[in-house]
């Protein structure tokens, strides 16, 4: 089992190296290794994960350990129910993304580096979800940050791709400092960097309530950055110039899911720290609403989906904040399925209309892209929370948990819990509105000129859509039987009959309203594009961070050029000046030289005579 586990982690990295070595020489071999390696990793992940679901005992193993001063840093892995479901999600999505990329990047000369980065990305996320040592987790965490930077900048000739990549890297990297310092604080406090040990100590230790507020807030900062929550939410939509399969990977399985996973993994620490939970609830309430409003007015299909990811991640954080671990993880899984589906379907739409992501260049694609239409409808339905689909059950579990918390008020400040509950309801309605708008704009109405000749892409791009449509459609069943996945330790009330009915009625009402707006529209869009008052976080970052750093850079350059360089120039200049003075003697007149010799000799003789 331990060899199997480390093998599963090694396969993506090995295949990445092989693809880089071979892919540029033989395109076919490169593709084969990329997809085959991911298939092997998926098979190993299935073997590892299926044994750990349900009531199974978690598996932990220490491969190596340092004998350093202080708590030992160990290469330790740990697979419990949470790791198992995350492994399945990551590798299924990664495999489908690799298959999809065969078609999507068919003529892309950068395919080898792209697919090897996808493999490393997957390996990094696998490391995060199976790590038992906090430093090992940090390694995987940073690997993902680096890979996302490279993959967002895949089209590095586009300035917005470069800018988005730098922004994503800098913002998540800044937030990662929270994880680094949180690890140090935890290690100092508990004398161990093992997650299982530390969490066991917290659970059994009868700690004073809120005594762990510092590491909890630091970890929360890292999770907020990685999962693009307010106020670090702006990098995710700006990461959209990356290839669409990458967006699917980042949004569904890796990267942003890591933030939620980190909180879920270290959940005992957060339940101890009610202040961190209150912050989390507030951030989630604000983020889900804001992101939904942006999605409502965005013209760009991929940006609509990006903002919806931010909004749905906020649902997960909201559920975690109110103590509903199971609802959060289930929503993470369901979201992983339907968001991967949505991005891949959006990719085939974008592919079909020739690369434009604006919804102005789509429309009327229902009959031209029948497979994409069916699967994307299921995806939008799941995102909006339409009754039998996966998103409906998990989202209602989240909403029910927030209402429960608002009524009981055990962990979070009451008014924050109520704000969170109100925000989940309003956001659910907004979600329906923007999903329906995007669906109508893409698939109905008059086709734009670019959409006239749209055709379905090859089967490698359609098969992943249908495969992902299965969990999107039937995944909700698991809400009824969470003990199948998580055993009996995470028992929660996930089905809320009355509340679900009320939410469904609201969903239907919003749906009718949007449909009416569609029927009465005059030109292309359903409503005029209102400039949404954006909280000026980017401006704040600009003033607080970017400009001071630029100023410092100018100062540094000045110091380097004028002060350090000035010293160097002064030394060389003075040497040169001295040389110029001495050179005057070397005038080429032999008789002048001889005069100096004679005068010198006479002077020496006179001096010698004077002394004698």
């Amino acid at each position: 089992m331990s060899a199997l586990l480390i093998g599963m982690l090694a396969v993506p990295f090995a295949s990445a190296a092989l693809v880089l070595l071979i892919g540029h020489r033989s395109a076919g071999a490169g593709k084969g290794i990329a997809v085959g390696g991911e298939a092997l990793a998926l098979a190993l992940a299935c073997v590892v994960a299926f044994g750990r679901l349900g009531g199974a005992v978690p598996f932990g193993h220490t491969y190596a350990s340092t004998a350093a001063v202080g708590p030992p840093i160990q290469l330790a892995l740990y697979v419990d129910q949470l790791s198992a479901v995350m492994l399945l999600l990551v590798h299924v999505v990664a495999f489908l993304v690799q298959v999809y990329s065969l078609g999507y990047l068919e003529h892309d000369p950068r395919y080898p580096s792209y697919s090897s980065l996808v493999a490393v990305f997957t390996g990094g996320m696998s490391l995060v979800v199976t790590a038992d040592d906090l430093w090992v987790l940090l390694v995987g965490w940073e690997l993902m940050g680096a890979c996302s930077y490279f993959l967002i900048a895949h089209h590095w000739e586009l300035p917005e791709a470069r800018a988005g990549a730098v922004k994503a890297y800098l913002m998540t990297r800044t937030a990662d400092l929270g994880l680094l310092f949180g690890i140090l604080v935890l290690g100092h406090r508990f004398g161990s960097y093992r997650i299982s040990t530390v969490m066991g100590d917290i659970t059994n230790g009868a700690l004073q309530l809120d005594s762990l507020w510092l590491p909890a807030l630091l970890f929360l900062a890292a999770a907020v950055g990685k999962s693009a929550q307010f106020p670090l939410h702006t990098w995710l939509p700006d990461a959209m110039p990356g290839p669409t399969p990458i967006s699917a990977l980042i949004h569904a399985a890796t990267m942003v899911a890591a933030g939620v996973f980190l909180v879920a993994r270290t959940y005992p620490m957060f339940t101890n720290s009610t202040s961190a939970l209150t912050w989390m609830a507030g951030i989630a309430a604000l983020t889900m609403f804001l992101a939904a409003v942006y999605a409502l007015f965005s013209k760009d299909l991929k940006r609509v989906l990006a903002w919806s990811t931010v909004s749905q991640l906020a649902y997960m954080f909201g559920a975690l904040a109110v103590g509903s671990w199971t609802a959060a993880v289930l929503h993470l899984l369901a979201h992983g399925a339907f968001k991967a589906l949505l991005f891949l379907a959006a990719g085939s739409v974008i592919h079909a209309v020739g690369g434009s992501t604006s919804m102005d260049s789509m429309g009327g694609l229902r009959s031209r892209l029948p497979d994409t239409f069916v699967t994307m409808t299921l995806g939008f339905g799941a995102l909006a929370g339409v009754v039998p689909l996966a998103g409906f059950f998990t989202k209602d579990a989240v909403i029910g948990a927030t209402l429960q918390e608002a009524l009981d008020g055990r962990q979070v400040w009451t008014w924050v819990a109520w704000a969170l509950f109100a925000s989940t309801i309003v956001t659910a309605m907004l979600t329906v509105a923007y999903c329906l708008r995007a669906w109508l704009l893409v698939f109905f109405g008059d086709p734009a000129p670019a959409a006239e000749g749209a055709e379905e892409p090859s089967w490698t791009m359609r098969a992943p859509l249908y495969l992902l449509a299965v969990p999107t459609t039937f995944g909700g069943i698991v809400v009824g039987y969470p003990e199948l996945l998580f055993g009996s330790t995470h028992r929660e009330e996930l089905l809320h009959g009355v509340l679900s009915t009320v939410v469904t009625v609201l969903v239907v009402l919003v749906g009718i309203a949007v449909t009416v707006a569609w029927a009465r529209r005059r030109d292309g869009d359903l409503w005029r594009p209102h400039p949404v008052p954006h909280p000026e976080v980017d401006v704040a970052y600009d003033v607080a961070v970017v400009r001071p750093v630029r100023g410092l850079a100018v100062l540094t350059r000045f110091y380097d050029r004028e002060v350090i360089g000035g010293w160097v120039d002064a030394f060389s200049g003075s040497a040169r000046g001295l040389g110029r003075v001495l050179r005057l003697a070397q005038n080429g007149n032999v008789q002048a030289y001889l005069m100096v010799v004679v005068v010198g000799a006479v002077a020496v003789a006179v001096a010698a005579g004077a002394r004698a």
Partner: protein, 111 residues
């Protein structure tokens, strides 16, 4: 014969030689100055040899060496003067300044 007579003669000859080397512009006359200085030194050597009654007469032998070296030197020097005249058309010593250290390497160093 007192010692200071030949020493005075040597000093006068040497001074004339120094004057010739430093002040004359014609290369042949400069060489003649050099010869005068060498021979002034020879007079000194012979004078002290006699004055000190050296049994081995090393002063005279040394003077012979100087004469040989002076002959070789003048042969070489006149050949150089001849070549200078052929290439430059004159033998003015203060016009021959090709070996002056001029400030023309600065631009190359700065690149």
């Amino acid at each position: 014969m007192p010692l200071w007579w030949p020493l005075l003669l040597a000093a006068l000859l040497f001074s004339i030689g120094v004057y010739g080397v430093l002040a004359r512009r014609n290369a042949v006359l400069v060489l003649m100055g050099v010869e005068l200085m060498l021979n002034a030194a020879n007079i000194n050597l012979v004078a002290f040899d006699a004055y000190l009654r050296d049994a081995l007469h090393s002063g005279q032998i040394f003077a012979l060496f100087v004469i040989v070296i002076a002959a070789a030197e003048i042969g070489l020097a006149l050949a150089i003067v001849l070549l200078v005249f052929r290439t430059h058309g004159h033998i003015e010593v203060d016009e021959l300044r090709a070996l002056a250290d001029r400030d023309d390497t600065r631009e190359e160093v700065r690149g």
